[in-house]
Amino acid sequence: MNTLSYFKDKLEHFRITGNGDGLHAIRKNAIDAFTSLGVPTTRNEEWKYTRIGGIFNKDYQFDVRPVFTAKDLDDVRLPGHEQSNELVFVNGVFSSELSTIRSSGLAVLPLEQAAHNEYKDIVAKHLGHSSQYVNDGINALNTAFAHGGVFVEAKKGQVEHPLYIYHVADASDGNIFAQPRSLVYVNENARLQIVETFVTIGSQESFTNHVIEVVVENDAHVEYYKIQGDSNRASQVSTTHIRQVGKSYTHSVVISLNGNIIRNNLNVIFDADHCESHLYGLYCLENETHVDNHTVVDNAKPSCFSNELYKGVVGGDATGVFNGKIFVRKNAQKTNAYQSNKNILLSETASVNAKPQLEIFADDVKCSHGCTVGSLDEEAQFYLVSRGLSKQSARALLLQAFAIDILENIKPEPIHKYVEQLIAARLEIDTL
């Protein structure tokens, strides 16, 4: 049976039977949405440069038990894990056995459970909000299959350790189609760092259709980091939806290094006055990797500030896509919104498609956007080489210099160092 008909059968079954948990209503809507929208094609403007139809033409193993164990986890852990909270999803399903919670400031429970207990109002209010912004079949599919997801609450005050979230695809015995789902609720005055990463093990292929929704209350401070360095047999559509419902601060850094097809949706919604958000991204690509960053900053309320900087270094046959949208709603006066996308192409066969979009309905705002695509500056290379540097290390130093203003925004020290090393390895920098 092919993948699409598997989903259709399964969804039909869901629709009829339901399963009585608190997520069923939202699931039902999503089933209808997926049925009418289907898998996005390049005819959809939002998917113009990213083709994912091929992913649905493959066969996947849906009901095998993963063999991934705690021992295997040791191989994929991020640096600094000894001092962090770790949430582990295997094949899209949250595993409490593999997860470790060290901070008393965090409550972690299955999403289905949260939908029934004292968190049910929060879940009802915020789960699925992203579908208003990512209105496509892929997002609906995740919601339709939302099971085995996780709910996280950050209580008031500093959450002592960062929250690492691993998305493991155990493709040892077959192709894996994983759909992890999380809802993170950050209370008033809470401070939280989130680090998400994706790992495929085994020799088969994986597709991860990922959605995380983060709700940020008054005076809260959230840092969000996404690191994508998976194998080139791994594809992802990854939606990060940050909704600032009180005057708050958020900061995100998305690092994409490796993979087959990667589509990131990052939405930042200012649903309160005086919110602030900084959005950074770095894609450093080679081979045939395709990375598409779609970002939305929605100024739904006045007096908010956003600054966005995405940078790309694209070599080999790789493709980068940047689509950055800024909405300024009619009542969102005094908005400050800045956006910049800079790209360096390293080969003749690499390509970048960049599309900044501003939709401004208020009249007292400051907005800017800019975009550059070019090759490495030859004059700068000659300057470095004329001091005795090899062409290779001149190139590496220049690219490192290009990336540095993204990397310096990765605040957790072990992660900062780790990403710096990954970038250095990609740029073949001798560590002197």
Binding site: Y383, V385, S386, R387, G388, L398, A401
Partner: protein
């Protein structure tokens, strides 16, 4: 024929006074251009170890092209001639190897590189040059010690060196940063391309003092400049006048004063006369 007499006299003197006079750079009939346009049309120049030479000339005469060709800038194409540098064929060496062999170009327009500090840049450069020479890389302590020593020598502030390379530097700061790099790399032949341009009098004095400190009997300096004013502070052994891709006149330091006084028109006039004769 007084000219002929002088020649014999000079070579006699060389043999007499210094058996150590080593030729640093010998340019023979150098022709070069860019995108089919001829710029250098037969340059001959010889620089010995310990000497300071100045090339002057009006805008567009090819001074900066000569500096760039010597440093190995690949946008220029050499069509004829040869350049011998310490006994090696310079034009066959890559730009990085020229630098590693002790050739240094102080840029007329130093490049701004956001994200790269001078310190980090120099650490990489010093260690790549050491590697080329078969020496161990300097560790952090030894490198810092060297930095401090050279900073004091050329009178540059640490804060400038921690900032992104040349980004937002004033004209004077950029040129001082070039001189600092020269101090760090300790070249055998330093080519200074319009190092005085864009500098006020105080900055010229500071930059000149540093060049004088860095110049020893074991290295050589080639200054390329449009104005005579740099020569108030740096005393050259030879002054060459470049015009239309050729060195049309060479002489002692007084030649610079003559140029300052009479302007470049006097050269044009002289060449005109010579061509007629």
């Amino acid at each position: 024929m007084p000219c002929h007499m002088t020649k014999i006299h000079t070579s006699y003197l060389i043999k007499q006074i210094n058996v150590n006079e080593i030729i640093m750079l010998k340019i023979k009939n150098l022709h070069a251009g860019i995108e089919g346009k001829k710029i250098l049309k037969g340059i001959d120049l010889e620089i010995k170890v310990g000497e300071v030479h100045v090339i002057m000339g009006p805008n567009g005469s090819g001074k900066s092209t000569l500096a760039s060709v010597l440093a190995g800038r690949e946008t220029y194409e050499v069509t004829e001639g040869s350049v011998e540098y310490l006994g090696k064929e310079l034009l066959e060496m890559s730009p990085e190897d020229r630098a590693r062999e002790g050739l240094f170009l102080a840029f007329q327009y130093p490049v701004e590189i956001p994200g790269l500090s001078t310190t980090n840049f120099m650490k990489t450069a010093v260690n790549e040059i050491r590697k080329y020479r078969g020496e161990e890389p300097l560790d952090a302590v030894a490198f810092l010690r060297m930095m401090k020593e050279k900073m004091a020598l050329v009178n540059i502030d640490q804060s400038l060196l921690s900032r992104p390379l040349n980004e937002g530097f004033s004209g004077g700061e950029k040129k001082r940063n070039e001189i600092f790099q020269m101090a760090m790399l300790q070249p055998k032949l330093a080519i200074m391309d319009e190092t005085d341009s864009g500098l006020d009098i105080d900055a010229i004095r500071i930059v000149s003092d540093s060049i004088n400190k860095l110049h020893t009997k074991d290295n050589a300096v080639l200054l390329v400049t449009h104005y005579q004013r740099l020569l108030d502070y740096i005393i050259p052994d030879y002054v060459h006048v470049m015009y239309n891709g050729r060195i049309v006149k060479s002489g002692p330091k007084e030649l610079a004063l003559e140029l300052e006084e009479k302007g470049y028109d006097f050269i044009r006039h002289e060449i005109g006369v010579a061509e007629e004769a």
